[in-house]
C-alpha cells in the first residue's frame, strides 16, 4: 500500500542525520566527547561509528555500508553511551552533545557476541561451499569473535529455493542475514526498487514483486546489490564450468576479450591494494589458462566511438543543418547494458535517444564471428566468445535475442572480474607475478580512448576527442591540454560541460559521403553531460522531461553503476568511493602511457574500415553488425 510513489528509501533507512557543517571548527560546531575514556573532538552530527573510525577504534559492522544510507538493523555495532539505558547502534547515532562512549564494555561484548550467534543460527550453509569463502563479512565477524561453536544452534535445512532465473544475479536467501544492503542499494542508491523486505518477524525475507523470479521483474542486472552483500546470498550467475568445458574441447576456438575495468581491479582479488593495473599479466594468465586468442575490448570501444560519434554528427546534422523535426537529441550513450535496461523500463519513451550503436562487447562479438573467422579461416560455429567484464548486466546483454547478428550468438559468455580471478586461481596461477604480454592480432593493442571507457565520463571523453578532431580538423591537444578533457572527469554524480565550436574543418573522408560540410556547426556550443548510477540518471531524465538544462544537451553519457564500469557489479568486493577512485587513477595512469589515445587513430581500426566495414561508420555492414534496436519494456516486459 505505497501511497507515496516518488519516495526513495523509507525514512527509517535514510540518512536521518544531522548535517555536518563544512567548517565545524570555525563556527564552534565541535563536540567534545570521550571514547573509552579518551578525549576527542568531533564535528556536530558525526556518528559514533565515524568518530571511532577517525580515532582508530574498531567497531564491528554488518548492515552498515559507506555507500548506503543508514539502517541500524543488524545491531552488531552497538556501544554504550553513558546515561542511556539501552545500547546504541554506533552507525546511526549522531553525536550532538558531549557523550561518553564505551565500545568494549562487558555489556557491549556480550551483546555483540549474542547477536552474532543469532545471525549464525539462521545462516544456512557451510563456508567452504560458498562463493564468498574468505571474503565474507559474517565469516570475518565470526573469526573476530572467536566463534568455535553455534551457541544458539544452526539451521540445517534450506528454507528457500535458490533463484537463478536471472542471467546476471543469483539469489540464495538461505544465506541472507537481512542487513538490507541490497534493498538500500536497489531502492536508494540505484532507485530501481525490485527488492524489498516481505513479511515480518521470523517470516521476513528479501523478495521481489509478488515473489516473481528475478528474471521476471524489472531488475536492470546492474549487480550493485552483489557488490554490497556481506555474505554469499547474492552472487553473479557463474559460467565458469561451461567456459572450462569449451577450453577443454579441442574442436573449439575459445576467444576472450577483456574490458578496461577488470584489469584495473583484478589485482584486488590477489591481495593487492586497489589501483594496480595488471593488463599484461592478465593477458599471460589467459593464455596459460588455455584461451586461443586474447583481445582487447578497447579495440571495440574505439569502434564504438567511431560509430556512436558518427551517429551523433548525423543526428546533429539532420536536426541543426536540415531542420528535421523528429531527430532525438540529446543522444544517449548505450554501452552500459544496465542503463539501457533501466531506460527501457522506466523511461521507454526515451529509447529513440539511445545511440543505436551496440556496446563494445557486442560489437566485438559480431566481428569475432564474422570478420575474424574469415581471415583466420575458422568455422564460426566452432568459435566460443567470452567477455571479461566488470559487469553483471553484460551477462544479460549477450543473451538479448537481438545480439545474434553474426548468425550465431555473438558473445557466448559474460565473465565477471571475480569469476576470472577464480579461474586464474583454479589454474594455479598467482597473477601479480606473471610476465606481461600484449593482445593478439588482428586487433592488437587499442587506444587510450578505449581504455578510459572504464571510468565514468570516459565514453564522453573518448567520443569528444574523436568528434572534436573530426569536426575542427584541429589536434585535440590544442583544445584540451594533454588531450585530457577534465570537465567530464571526476566522481560528481552528474557533470555538465559546454564546449564552444569556434572553427570547423573539412569533413574527413571516412564520413564525407554522409555529411557534406561542417559549416552549420560553427559557432555552436556543444553541450554534454555525464551521469553515473541510475539514481543520477533519473535526475537527468526528469530534468529533460521538464525541459530543463539537460534537455538542451547534445550528448549525454549514462552509466548504470556508481563510478562507471570500474564500479560495476562484476568487480572485486568490497567497493567504496576510495576503492573506485583508486581504480580510476590506475586507468588514467595507464592511458597516459599508450601510443594512441584517440579512437580514429587506431591503425587496426582503420584497417577494419578499409577491409571489412567498407562503407564506413554507420554504413550498411556496420548497421547490420554493429547497431541494434531497443524495446519499450515499461513495467511489464522483462
Amino acid at each position: 500500500m505505497r501511497k507515496n510513489n516518488n519516495v526513495r528509501a523509507p525514512e527509517s533507512q535514510k540518512r536521518l542525520k544531522v548535517k555536518i557543517a563544512d567548517n565545524p571548527e570555525d563556527i564552534g560546531a565541535m563536540v567534545h566527547i570521550e571514547i573509552n575514556e579518551k578525549k576527542v573532538s568531533v564535528p556536530l552530527g558525526t556518528t559514533i561509528l565515524e568518530a571511532c573510525r577517525k580515532n582508530q577504534i574498531h567497531i564491528p559492522t554488518l548492515c552498515h555500508h559507506d555507500d548506503l544510507c543508514i539502517a541500524g538493523v543488524c545491531r552488531v555495532c552497538v556501544v554504550e553511551v553513558e546515561g542511556m539505558k539501552t545500547l546504541q547502534a554506533a552507525c546511526s547515532f549522531p553525536i550532538t552533545n558531549p557523550v561518553k562512549i564505551k565500545t568494549t564494555s562487558p555489556r557491549v561484548r556480550r551483546a555483540r557476541k549474542n547477536i552474532l550467534d543469532l545471525l549464525l543460527s539462521e545462516h544456512y550453509g557451510e563456508c567452504y561451499a560458498c562463493v564468498r569463502n574468505n571474503n565474507c563479512e559474517l565469516q570475518a565477524l565470526a573469526k573476530e569473535y572467536g566463534v568455535d561453536h553455534y551457541n544458539f544452534g544452526h539451521i540445517d535445512k534450506p528454507k528457500f529455493q535458490v533463484d537463478n532465473s536471472s542471467y546476471a544475479v543469483v539469489r540464495d536467501m538461505n544465506k541472507c542475514v537481512l542487513c538490507k544492503r541490497c534493498v538500500r542499494t536497489c531502492i536508494d542508491l540505484q532507485e530501481v526498487g525490485v527488492l524489498e523486505a516481505i513479511n515480518r518477524g521470523e517470516a521476513t525475507y528479501i523478495g521481489t514483486f509478488f515473489d516473481k523470479p528475478l528474471a521476471d521483474v524489472i531488475c536492470i542486472n546492474c549487480g550493485q546489490c552483489i557488490n554490497r552483500c556481506p555474505t554469499g546470498a547474492l552472487h553473479a550467475n557463474d559460467p565458469r564450468d561451461e567456459i572450462w568445458a569449451a577450453i577443454d574441447d579441442p574442436e573449439k576456438h575459445v576467444i576472450i576479450q577483456t574490458a578496461p575495468s577488470p584489469r584495473a581491479a583484478i589485482g584486488e582479488e590477489f591481495g593487492l591494494e586497489p589501483g594496480h593495473s595488471l593488463t599484461g599479466e592478465m593477458n599471460t594468465a589467459l593464455r596459460r589458462i588455455g584461451f586461443d586468442a586474447v583481445f582487447d575490448t578497447n579495440f571495440a570501444a574505439d569502434l564504438t566511438v567511431m560509430e556512436e560519434g558518427t551517429e551523433l554528427l548525423l543526428r546533429l546534422y539532420k536536426a541543426l543543418a536540415k531542420g528535421e523535426p523528429d531527430v532525438a537529441i540529446p543522444q544517449f550513450t548505450s554501452c552500459s547494458p544496465g542503463w539501457v535496461k533501466y531506460l527501457e523500463h522506466f523511461y521507454p519513451d526515451f529509447i529513440n535517444h539511445l545511440s543505436s550503436a551496440k556496446s563494445p562487447q557486442q560489437m566485438f562479438g559480431a566481428l569475432l564471428k564474422t570478420f575474424y573467422p574469415k581471415i583466420k579461416n575458422i568455422d564460426p560455429a566452432n568459435i566460443v566468445t567470452v567477455a571479461v567484464m566488470p559487469c553483471a548486466a553484460k551477462k544479460f546483454e549477450c543473451n538479448r535475442p537481438e545480439m545474434t547478428d553474426s548468425g550465431y550468438k555473438d558473445i557466448d559468455y559474460g565473465l565477471t572480474t571475480r569469476e576470472l580471478a577464480q579461474m586464474i586461481k583454479e589454474a594455479g596461477i598467482y597473477l601479480p607475478e606473471l610476465p606481461k604480454s600484449g593482445f593478439d592480432d588482428p586487433f592488437g593493442d587499442a587506444t587510450g580512448a578505449g581504455l578510459i571507457f572504464g571510468a565514468t565520463g570516459g565514453v564522453m571523453e573518448a567520443a569528444l576527442r574523436t568528434v572534436l578532431e573530426l569536426v575542427t580538423g584541429d589536434k585535440i591537444e590544442n583544445i584540451f591540454e594533454n588531450a585530457e578533457i577534465k570537465p567530464v572527469r571526476g566522481f560528481e554524480g552528474i557533470r555538465y560541460a559546454e564546449i564552444p565550436v569556434t572553427k570547423v574543418g573539412k569533413v574527413p573522408g571516412i564520413i564525407s559521403h554522409l555529411i557534406p560540410d561542417f559549416e552549420w556547426l560553427k559557432g555552436i556550443t556543444l553541450k554534454v553531460a555525464v551521469a553515473h548510477g541510475t539514481a543520477n540518471a533519473k535526475k537527468v531524465l526528469e530534468d529533460i522531461k521538464n525541459g530543463g538544462k539537460f534537455s538542451h544537451c547534445h550528448f549525454i553519457e549514462f552509466m548504470a553503476c556508481p563510478g562507471g564500469c570500474l564500479g560495476g557489479g562484476g568487480q572485486p568486493i568490497p567497493t567504496n568511493a576510495e576503492i573506485r577512485r583508486k581504480r580510476a587513477e590506475a586507468i588514467y595512469k595507464e592511458e597516459r602511457t599508450l601510443n594512441y589515445r584517440k579512437s580514429h587513430e587506431n591503425p587496426k581500426l582503420i584497417r577494419l574500415y578499409n577491409e571489412f566495414l567498407t562503407d564506413g561508420p554507420c554504413g550498411s555492414v556496420s548497421h547490420k553488425l554493429l547497431h541494434t534496436t531497443y524495446t519499450k519494456r515499461g513495467s511489464f516486459i522483462v
Binding site: V73, T86, F93, R110, N114, F152, A197, R200, E202
Partner: protein
Amino acid sequence: MEGVKHNRFGPVIFSKYERGSAIERALAMSREDILFELKNSGLKGRGGAGFPTSTKWMLTAAAISDKKYLICNADEGEPGTFKDRVLLIEYPELVFDAMVVGGYTIGATEGIVYLRGEYEYLLDSLNDYLNGMRKDNLLGENILGKKGFNFDIRIFLGEGSYVCGEETALIESLEGHRGEARNRPPYPVNTGFMGKPTCVNNVETLATISHIIVKGSEWYKNFGTSKSKGTKLFSISGDCEKPGVYELEWGMKISDVLKLVGAKDTKAVQIGGASGVCLNSSQFDRTLAYEDVPTGGSIIIFNKKRSMLKVLKNFMEFFVEESCGQCTPCRIGNVKLLEAVKMIEENKLTFGYLKKLKELAETMKIASKCGLGQSSPNPFLSIIENFKEEIFNYAGGGEYAKE
C-alpha cells in the same frame, strides 16, 4: 453530537466534561501557561513508555518548522488493552479537544488519528463526530474565533500490525512504508512525519489533558501518589467476575484491584500486556505506580487452572509473529525464546542453555532497535522466574501437562 455514554464513574477521565470546553479554555491561555499546567500536573504518557507529556509538547513547540503534526496513537495493539477503544466510542470529545489544544500549543496545523485497523467499524462515527466539530468551528480555520489558529484532524486506518503502535513505526506506516521503527535519535519531536516535528500521544494521554486544561493541574495532582500523579485507565481481563475498563488512582495495591474485579483463586497477574511482567501471589501487595509496577494499563488475571507455560508460549508466539523483523535481536531472539518454551514442554531444556537464554534476553532488552524487542523478553524472564517450580515440573508430568 456526544459519544454514547455508559455508566462509567471515575475521578478524572470519567468525570463530567463538556465538549469544546478545553479548547475554549486553552485558547484563552498563553502557550506557556498551557505547558506550565501540563508540567505541573506531572502527566506522563499513557501509551506505555511513560515519558513526561509536557516535555514532549515543549520540545515539539520549540522545534522550528513550517509545518508540525500532532498524532493521536489509537493503534491500541498491546494484548489485553481496550481502554482507548472505550474512550473513542464513548468520550471522543476528550480526545479530539485535546488534539486541538495540542495543535494550538505546539503550533501544529494538522492532527492525525492513527486508528487500529481492527477498529475500522468506528471510522464512520468518528468522522461524523469530526464533522460536527467542524460545523461548530471546533476544527477548521480561525477556531472559535481565534485569528490565525487553523487545525484539522484526519483519521488514518492502520493495517493491523502491533509494531505500528511504536511511534516511529507508526510514522513510517503513515508515510506509506513498512511499519518499522526508525533509528532514534533523531526523535519525532524534531524529525517526525514527513521529516517534520511531530508529537505522538496516546488516546488516554490526550483525554486526560482535556480535563487538566479545564480543571487545572492542582486539582489533578490531588489524585495518585507523590511520584505518579492522577489516575489511570486499566483494561482488566481474564479470570475475574467483572472484567472491563476501570479508572483507578495510581498507587492501588494489586490485591485490592483483584478484589474490586472479583478475581478468585488468582495465581498470576500479567501487568502491562504481553510486553509487561507477570507477578505471582507473593507480589500482589505491590502497587500500581511508576515507582513500583508501572504499566500502560493492561491487567490480565490468571487463576489456578491456567498453565503458565502455555501463557508464556502464547506471549512468545505473539512476539515472534509481531516483530517487524528488521533488527537481529528481536527477529531471531524471540524465536529462540519460543523454542526454549517448546524445549521445556518436551523436557529438553538444560539449565546451561537456560542460562545462555537469560543472557540473550538481557541482550534483547538493551540491543534491540525499538521497544518491542526491548520488552518482549519481560514475560519470558518474569514467568520463568516467578513460576519456576510449575514450569519445570511441567515436563515431568506436572499438573498442566495433560491439558
